[in-house]
Every structure is written in C-alpha cells, then in structure tokens.
C-alpha cells in the first residue's frame, strides 16, 4: 500500500487535523466525536445544514463547510457512515433554533445513523436524501439509487438559500428539487485502497474499466474493456440524459468530477467531449464545474453529473461561497 500514512488507525485523525489547521480561517475541527464546523458562527436564525458520510471522498464534505454552504460535516471512518453522536455534537454547536437540515446520501448506513440522530435531538429537523447515481436501477422495493456527486450541487444551492434566510421546509424542498433535477454516473480505471484493508477493494486488468462504479469502489453496471474518452463520455451522458430527459430548452450544469487519481487535464478533456455532445443535442451548458470534488481515495476515474437548471437554481449557484473546496465571490 503506497500512501502517505503513519498507521491506518491514525489516518483519519491526522488528515482531519491537517485540514483543520490548513484552513483554520474557514473551519474548526472537533475530535471524539469528529465533526467540522465553520470557524465563524453563522448568523442567528439560519437553518443549520449538516451533512456527513464516510471519509475518503475529500474535499466532500468537510471541504464544503463554510459561508454559503454547510454549517457542519460529520466524517465517518473511511467509507463508513458517521455515528449519531457526531451529529448530536455538531448540532449542539451550530443549531441556532431555526431547525436542522440533514443532507444525506442514500446509503443504508448513512440513513440509519442520521435517522437515529434526528430521533435523539430535541429540535426540529428535516432530511434531504440524494440519490443521483443513475448506474443503479431504481426500484421502490430496494434501497434504490446511490447518492454521489450531485450531493455537492445540493449542498451549494441549498446552502445559498439557507444563507439568505430560507426556512427549514423551503431548504428541504429546494434540496429535493436539485436532487430530482440531477443525475450522475462514473467509471473507474483503478481501485482505491482503504487504509484499514491495505489492499485494493477490487482488481481490474490493465485493459479493463468498471462502468457505473460507486464512490466506494462498488461494482457498477458492468466491467468493460477500456474505451476512448469519447465513447466513455458518450455512454455516461446518454445514461444520465435518459434518466433526466431534459427538454431542448433546458439549461444545465455540467459537472465533471475526478475520483482522486485522475489528473484534471483528463477531466477537462472529458468536459470538452461532453460539451460537444451536448451541443449536438441542443442542450445548453449554463454552468460548469470540473475537478476533484467527490472522490474515492486514490481511485483513477471520473464521473459526470448533470443538473437541470432554472433561474432559481442558477441564482443560488452563483451566490458567494467560501469553503476550502469551493470558493467564489468572496
């Protein structure tokens, strides 16, 4: 296992401490239980946005704590849901009486732990469940689709509404709208290595890729021979568009996300291929995001997320944000 690491047990703590120290103007980290909050308290009366999930997806979510986005993030162990005590401790610091909105990716573990936190806390709370991964067939009888990179779009847009005074229900409704308007799909060229496991989560041959991979290295739709960037981009886009069915007039946000081990030059190449295909389909890219935002440790791979935009969403997307992982307008 080739990692900058001292021991698997200390990985998360040391990484969090470094993150907290490097960005102490933006965030404050607490340990045992672990959670990250803004270093400057949000204004009174603001709905508190709290999220969390397994670690290993950095900058998600700690990197999105700050003005205009999250109030707190609760990082679990690598790829493991956080536990309710983390949420409770974070709520104590950031809830200023207007309610707590949990933004939760659709994984059994995450859902159950956030649910327990909601039961344990005293004030009002609502939950937005993200499930944008179109790789997984949807069905009302199963756990359903996974929540992946669109979670970040939800966090940015709802973060903006909360900052501008949106109520708990308004924030929840907007979050659900963004999630419904979003679809994602990813592909992996290599596996990640969970520090505690010390070996790759899965094995790929030198000419293979995992199509529709999950952000923990879960198997996707199928294993396939490596293809050209155009073919991969085309297939990812088609899967997403089939699900989202945007109309000709729809504006979209095009988000090309790296899994952690792929250089951004390749992400920009995917972006270029995607924008030409969308252009052919007369779908207009109104906003763009390219980079490593929702990662899977050192996995080589990328995902595409599309969010259908209307004026409300564009406005909230454009408002200032000041976090370690996303910053503009301030």
């Amino acid at each position: 296992m080739k990692k900058f690491i001292n021991s698997a047990d200390d990985f998360l703590k040391e990484s969090l401490q470094g993150f907290g120290a490097a960005h102490k103007d933006i965030v404050t980290c607490y340990y045992n239980p672990n959670f990250i909050i803004r270093s400057k308290y949000a204004k009174k009366g603001k709905v508190a946005l709290i999220t969390g999930g397994g670690s290993g997806h950095e900058p998600m979510h700690g990197g999105f704590v700050g003005y205009g986005m999250l109030d707190a993030a609760c990082p679990g162990f690598v790829f493991s849901s956080p536990s309710p005590d983390q949420m409770i401790a974070a709520i104590e610091k950031v809830d200023c009486g207007s309610g707590v909105l949990f933004i939760v990716k659709n994984y059994s573990g995450d859902i159950m732990n956030f649910q327990m936190a909601a039961e344990m806390m005293t004030g009002p709370s609502e939950t937005v469940l993200t499930n944008d991964d179109v790789a997984v067939e949807n069905s009302s009888f199963t756990t359903g689709r996974r929540g992946v990179a669109a979670t970040i779009i939800v966090e940015k847009i709802v973060g903006s509404l909360a900052e501008s005074g949106g109520s708990l229900v308004e924030c929840k409704n907007l979050g659900n709208k963004v999630n419904k308007n979003s679809g994602s799909m990813g592909v992996a060229f290599s596996s990640c290595i969970v520090p505690a496991a010390g070996k790759p989560t899965f094995e790929l041959r030198s000419d293979e890729m995992e199509f529709g991979v999950g952000i923990h290295g879960e198997p996707g739709r199928r294993r396939d021979k490596i293809k050209s960037a155009k073919e991969i981009t085309n297939e990812l886009l088609n899967a997403i568009l089939e699900d989202l069915k945007p109309e000709n007039k729809d504006d979209i946000l095009l988000f090309v996300n790296g899994m952690g081990g792929t250089p951004i030059s390749e992400l920009y190449l995917i972006y270029d291929n995607a924008r030409k295909m969308l252009d052919n389909k007369k779908i207009k890219i109104a906003r763009s995001l390219v980079g490593n935002y929702c990662t899977s440790l050192e996995m080589q791979g990328a995902s595409i997320t599309i969010t259908k935009l209307d004026q409300e969403l564009v406005n909230h997307w454009d408002t200032p944000v000041h976090t370690a992982g996303m910053r503009w307008g301030m």
Partner: protein
C-alpha cells in the same frame, strides 16, 4: 442474565469472530465495501473495554452504555443496527430487578423488532435480518411453549445457520449489496454471517453450561 454474562459472552464472541475474520472480510468485499469485519471487531473490542465502567451498573444502564459505544464506535450500517439492538434491549421493562431466560429472550426479540424498524428490511432481503428475525421467532415460541432450554439453544443455532445460508441465493434488496442487482446472488451476506456466529457462540456457551 447479568452484566457479567454480557461481558463474558463478548469475550467469547471476540475469539470466534477473530477466527473467522478472513471469511467475513471476503464476504463484504464481494457484495459490500469490505469493512464489515473491521466494524464488528472494533465494536466488540470497545464493548470489552467497557468492562470496568459497566460491571457494577444496573442492566438497563449497562446496555445503554454498550449501545452508545457500539453506535459511536462502529459507524456504518452495523453500528446503527447493533446499536439499536442493544439500546432497545436496555429499554425493556423491569430488567434491573433480574433477568431470567424468558425475560432475556423477550428483550432480544424486542430488540430485533426495533432493528427491523430501523433498517426497514424483512426476511428475504439478504441482510442480517435473515438470521435475527427467525432466531428471535424461534426463541420466543420455544420459551412460550416451555421448551427445554438446551433443546431451544440447539434449535436457535440451527435456525441461525439456516438463515445465514439462505442469504446465499437471495437477491439483495436492502443495504449496499442491493446496488449489485443480480450479481449479489451467490454470496452469503456478511452481516448474516457475523450475526449467526455471535448467536451460535452465546447459545453454545449456554448449552455447555
């Protein structure tokens, strides 16, 4: 059933789980994210470490402390599920005045019911519920029909094993494995395996008493 009994069983379970660790790890790698064994091992270790703190506490408080430890120390699905199990068991009525086998079985069944609520999974969805629910039902029926305790323990061990094995050919519809669709078939569920091993350990130790 005493707090001392709980700690002793935890220590016995630790040995069994450690012995079967590679197998459980492999199961979660095949249809999950590979961490189930670490989660379970971490949880058991934390429970055992609680001994000096809980050994003289009333049963309800001891179980609540165990639940909180499991909940916060494991994380993930199994943290919430096992946490819910112990938390709910600790909320059963009248347990601080002494717990006989009948009460213990009712506590367990009560806990399993809460786990079912928590995870929204029933028998047949390829989760630990395929072990927990049948075992809880078997124990409850047995104790209500005044079955011989040792026979009942043997029956529970068999039921757990059957439930665990049944997950192999099931299609997962809950938990991470559900993302695999048809490819989840052909693998035993890791949570079912770890639960079955824990139940077996406890029942066997009662048998050999």
């Amino acid at each position: 059933m005493s707090v001392d009994f709980l700690i002793k069983k935890a220590k016995e379970i630790k040995i069994v789980i450690d012995n079967n660790a590679p197998e459980i790890e492999k199961l979660d790698q095949e249809i999950g994210d590979g961490d189930h064994i670490f989660n379970v091992q971490r949880g058991i270790k934390l429970v055992i470490e609680l001994e000096p703190i809980i050994k003289d506490l009333p049963m309800s408080e001891a179980l609540n402390q165990i639940a909180m430890k499991v909940l916060s120390g494991i994380g993930g699905s199994s943290g919430a599920l096992f946490g819910t199990l112990f938390m709910t068991m600790g909320k059963s009525s009248d347990i601080d005045v002494g717990v006989d086998y009948k009460k213990a079985i009712n506590m367990f069944a009560y806990g399993v019911e809460a786990v079912k609520q928590r995870g929204k999974a029933d028998v047949g969805e390829k989760t630990m519920m395929d072990v927990l629910i049948p075992v809880a039902n078997c124990l409850k029926q047995g104790i209500e029909n005044n079955k011989d305790l040792k026979d009942l323990m043997r029956e529970a061990i068999e039921t757990a094993e059957k439930g665990m094995l049944s997950t192999k050919n099931l299609l997962a519809t809950k938990g991470r494995a559900s993302y695999l669709g048809d490819r989840s078939k052909g693998h035993i569920d890791p949570g079912a395996r770890s639960s079955q091993l824990m139940i077996k350990t406890v029942c066997e130790s009662i048998l050999n008493n």
